[in-house]
Symmetry: C2
């Protein structure tokens, strides 16, 4: 099956918004075994839309049309669709009822524009939109399926995932798909690939593996394509079981998990608490931890000790250690971790001290050098890292994420 | 002048990358007075590219083609361009010299694929690419200009800004443009629009104003379109002078300025120092400040006091005040600011305490309630805000940015 995506709307053509919808649809359809032949963006203009539909019908078996369905704009798109499919607009009672109910819930008055969203082409199948007021419309003409969906991303995503792909699957025009993303931290992509070579070579042919690295994690996406979603799920989960055995310490979560959320859950379950001491990460670790709702249950707080006198005063780092080993050293990192744990009275702590760059590096301690210490009930552990590159923001993110991974492993007694 | 953008490459059609290039080009061309008629994404496929060029020629006076020019892919795109424009590939000596020099500088061996990047269509004008190895190519056919540029964003941006738009301007096919963005904080968009109504109504007709709000700032973009860039610059700068008089305290910077960088510059100039105490912002203010290279010159550090006992212990907040007024109160915010200033020995300090959400709100103190205090050499100032919405991340960003704006105004003695 070959598809074309048509996006309607001036916003894209004046560069006001980036067309992320098309990339999202393309990825989903590709996963379902449907090839995208072309993506076309056109104006809210009758002739231009008609021309685009005509061209698409020549090339594609499936045409997904996004945009042009807001309450102020749908006049033109819906009328043009009626013209192209030789039908007329009629009131669709279930859609009108759904719109009225939404407005009642919000306690807002409806105007004629809102009511008119229930005026829909007579010949199409209506795809109900639980996320908004403009439904999807499914037309068929000369063996080509045309589907119009709103341009609002989460409404479009809902309709494609919940209404369109299942229908395409039912009629044998799209395949079932099961995705899982495994989140790893602490091992570079190349080394990970080496460790996983044998496992990867023996993956069932239904499963495709993609490495998706970013400064926070190397994500491994397993996508299985087939005819039965339940079977695909079993297949993927079996492979993840094997994966866990090969790289036990590096996996911190799945799909949309965040490291700070994973740690928060561990601490909350155990009724234990955390404190943070930051130098080079400058508050970013504390920010990641406090981005998780409910963190006050286990998070005591942090000290960002950007100057040496604050390290001494607030974290009881020894003046002698600073003089002898420098601020970026094993000794100082460990004293910071122990100091903040003591001062804030927590069960665990983590500390960072390093050179984030772009300046401040020396031959002995280049930009990217970071000491991280984590302390638990019995012991303090410290590790030295040299992150490559002088991008300050990137070094801060990588140091913070590495520190959280060490903390996670400490809590799980894996260090 | 009407333009079409054609992007070539499978990456977009399988949804692997989002087509940000087209949005960037569309915005730039629009600014230069050139309307985008259509954006079309096609595969690396001969027939498909030929068809797209043919269609574009019918509709547009200018066709910008991006992508398909990497060393491993350019065979097809360049050959198809030769076919369409009835010309042949020849070695372009200046391009070959430039490529060879780049490899010499990097101390890397060249292979045949690299050399072949200097094989270019005989009939086109070569646009030299200082940012990469694949040059731009400018063709003309039946009054339509076709320009092919690489898909690597910064190479494409360089060629459009430095080679293509100036040539279009010289030949009277594009207009001169001057942009300036004014960054404001502390006043909602609607109130800003009200204050600026008269100024906006009297803007010279060459200047267009756009409001671009995000959680960090309401940005005002002035774009002037005309024939002489120098004159446009004078015109825009005059209007900005007037603007500064209407909303003096709210403007913190221009274009790519960051609030933390603006503050850093003020402190460095004065040889003064800063400390931060955070509760609801959880470390984010400290993160913003330490994202600026060289901040150790003026930044002492911070305390994130997420629990009440830490507020007492590290920041000397009074137990009685916490009991009487609660952690989210004027009294506690002021004591936090004074406490951290004293403890860390800084000239200035800023403190936040509030309810970031999504939970934890009460009728009296709903989610979004934040007290911010700033302290200088003589006095402490505190302000209450109620940010609307229960999005935790958004409340953290807005509280942090508001706190920094107050700090900036304190340093400038504007409070």
């Amino acid at each position: 099956m070959k598809a074309e995506i048509i996006t309607i709307g001036d916003e894209i053509l004046i560069g006001q918004i980036v067309d992320t919808n098309s990339a999202w649809i393309a990825k989903e359809l590709n996963h379902a075994g449907i090839e995208i032949f072309q993506i076309t963006s056109v104006h809210d203009d009758r002739e231009h839309i008609l021309k685009a539909l005509e061209n698409a019908e020549k090339n594609a078996d499936l045409v997904i049309i996004t945009g042009g369905l807001g309450p102020t704009k749908d006049d033109i798109t819906k009328k043009v669709l009626c013209e192209y499919f030789e039908t007329k607009l009629i009131f669709h009672q279930p859609t009108l009822d759904a719109i009225m109910q939404k407005f009642r819930l919000r306690n807002v008055d409806m105007n004629q524009l809102n009511k008119d969203q229930a005026l829909l082409p007579e010949s199409c199948t209506i795809l109900s939109n639980k996320q908004g007021t403009a439904p999807g419309m499914w037309f068929e003409k000369n063996d080509t399926i045309f589907i119009s969906v709103p341009g609002v991303p989460f409404e479009m995503e809902y309709l494609v995932s919940e209404e369109i792909l299942p229908r395409l699957r039912e009629t044998g025009r799209a395949r079932a798909i099961y995705h899982r993303t495994v989140l790893t931290q602490g091992i570079p992509e190349s080394m990970l690939a080496e460790k996983l070579e044998n496992w990867e070579d023996n993956l069932p042919k239904e499963i495709k593996l993609a490495y998706l690295p970013n400064p926070m994690a190397v994500r491994l996406r397993l996508s299985a394509l087939g005819d039965n979603k339940e079977k695909l799920k079993v297949l993927v989960e079996q492979e993840i079981e094997k994966l866990i055995k090969i790289i036990p310490g590096y996996i911190y979560g799945y799909d949309d998990d965040e490291m700070a959320g994973v740690i928060g859950k561990l601490l909350a379950e155990r009724g234990e608490t955390l404190a943070v001491a930051e130098s080079c990460t400058g508050g970013y670790i504390s920010h990641l931890i406090t981005s998780i709702p409910g963190c006050s249950e286990y998070y005591k707080g942090s000290v960002t000790s950007y100057s040496n006198d604050i390290k001494q005063k607030l974290l009881s780092v020894k003046k002698d250690s600073l003089a002898e080993f420098g601020a970026v050293s094993k000794e100082v990192a460990e004293q910071m971790a122990l100091g903040v744990k003591e001062k804030l009275g927590s069960d665990y702590s983590v500390a960072t001290t390093g050179i984030a760059g772009p300046d401040g590096g020396t031959e002995e301690k280049p930009v990217g050098t970071v000491w991280i210490a984590v302390a638990g009930k019995e012991k303090v552990y410290s590790y030295k890292y040299i992150f490559v590159g002088d991008k300050r923001e990137r070094n801060i993110i990588r140091s913070s994420q590495t520190a959280l991974q060490l903390l996670r492993r400490l809590i799980l007694q894996e260090l």
